[in-house]
């Protein structure tokens, strides 16, 4: 299990890529009871909202950000807080890459702070930050 002392500011978070399918988008809308039509109704999305394709949900990208960070810090780390914002729409068919870096290590508090992003090619669609707490010593 990792400990706070194992992390150093500037270290890059391992990247993970996600390419959600139409079924994945539908499952997320259904499980979250997210009824916004731009995630499942293509004629509405193109004709009413002017988008080229169905949109990948903002909260799903937030979840991708948290999942990739959690896998990188390890199962012994506990998410304390997360924030994220969206900069550009992400569309069905896009491959999203999640990554980031360590921005703060607080050994007294036992926390590691990460800056995180979700990118399509080189464009960030979502950026954010998360704080995880970890044990002081590995066990």
């Amino acid at each position: 299990m990792s400990a706070v002392g194992d992390f150093a500011v500037g270290t890059e978070v391992s990247t993970e890529s996600r390419t959600p399918t139409a079924v994945d988008l539908f499952m997320f809308s259904a499980a979250a009871w997210l009824l916004h039509r731009i995630h499942y109704d293509l004629p509405f999305t193109t004709e009413h909202d002017g988008h080229p394709a169905l949109l990948i949900h903002g909260p799903l990208q937030g979840m991708y950000l948290v999942q990739s960070a959690q896998r990188w810090v390890g199962p012994g780390a506990t998410l304390k807080s997360v924030r994220y914002r969206h900069h550009a729409p992400a569309y069905l068919g896009d491959t999203l890459v999640c990554g980031g870096s360590v921005t703060n290590v607080d050994e007294a508090e036992g926390t590691v702070e990460l800056e995180l992003w979700v990118k399509r090619d080189d464009e960030a669609t979502t950026t954010g930050a998360a704080v995880f707490s970890l044990p002081a010593e590995g066990s």
Binding site: R18, D24, M27, F28, A30, A31, A32, W33, L34, L35, H36, R37, I38, D41, F44, H48, D49, G58, P59, L60, G62, M63, Y64, V66, Q67, Q70, T78, L79, K80, S81, V82, R83, Y84, R85, H86
Partner: protein, 162 residues
């Protein structure tokens, strides 16, 4: 000259009811499957108990699902044309919704069988001039506590209308 009228200001003074939401295992399993989680603690009660939990454990951002259902299960005829819940749409001419910033402080995990109390507050309604016209921002806050009064999560969420 703004798009937030006196009518919109009065709308922003609203109070939302507090809701109670009983979390069942199936809600957690569906959400975990939808986000591609595979860990047994999200699907199997025995595995969750072996890991020290009372029952199946929800993935970290599950409170989002709680508040979507606690406030969003309404007749489809009452929804906005874009499918969003009309309760959350301010009376402004800019009605195309986008998700803005989300900020979540996590407390104790959500476990199947929990009864979570959700408080919803509209914190602020304001506007900024965007590249293609006015943008209206609605700041909401959701506070989630379980049956033991423990904080499960506090979420700040901004929706943008353009």
């Amino acid at each position: 000259m703004g798009v937030i009228t006196q009518e919109a200001r009065e709308w922003a003074d609203r109070e939302y009811p507090t809701r109670q939401f009983e979390v069942n295992a199936r809600d957690i399993q569906k959400y975990a499957a939808a986000i591609g989680e595979t860990a047994a603690i999200h699907f199997d009660a025995d595995a969750a108990r072996a890991a020290g939990f009372r029952d199946i454990v929800a993935p970290p951002l599950f409170p989002y699902v709680i508040r979507m259902q606690a406030y969003g299960i309404v007749d489809s005829g009452t929804l906005e044309p874009d499918g969003s819940t009309s309760d959350d749409v301010p009376p402004v001419p800019t009605r195309r919704a986008m998700a803005g910033e989300t900020s979540i402080e996590m407390g104790v995990p959500v476990i199947a069988g929990d009864v979570v109390t959700v408080e919803k507050r509209l914190m602020d309604l304001y506007e900024k001039e965007g590249r293609s016209g006015p943008l209206v921002f609605v700041d909401m806050e959701f506070t989630f506590r379980n049956q033991d009064e423990d904080l499960v999560a506090r979420e700040r969420f901004t929706r943008i209308y353009r």
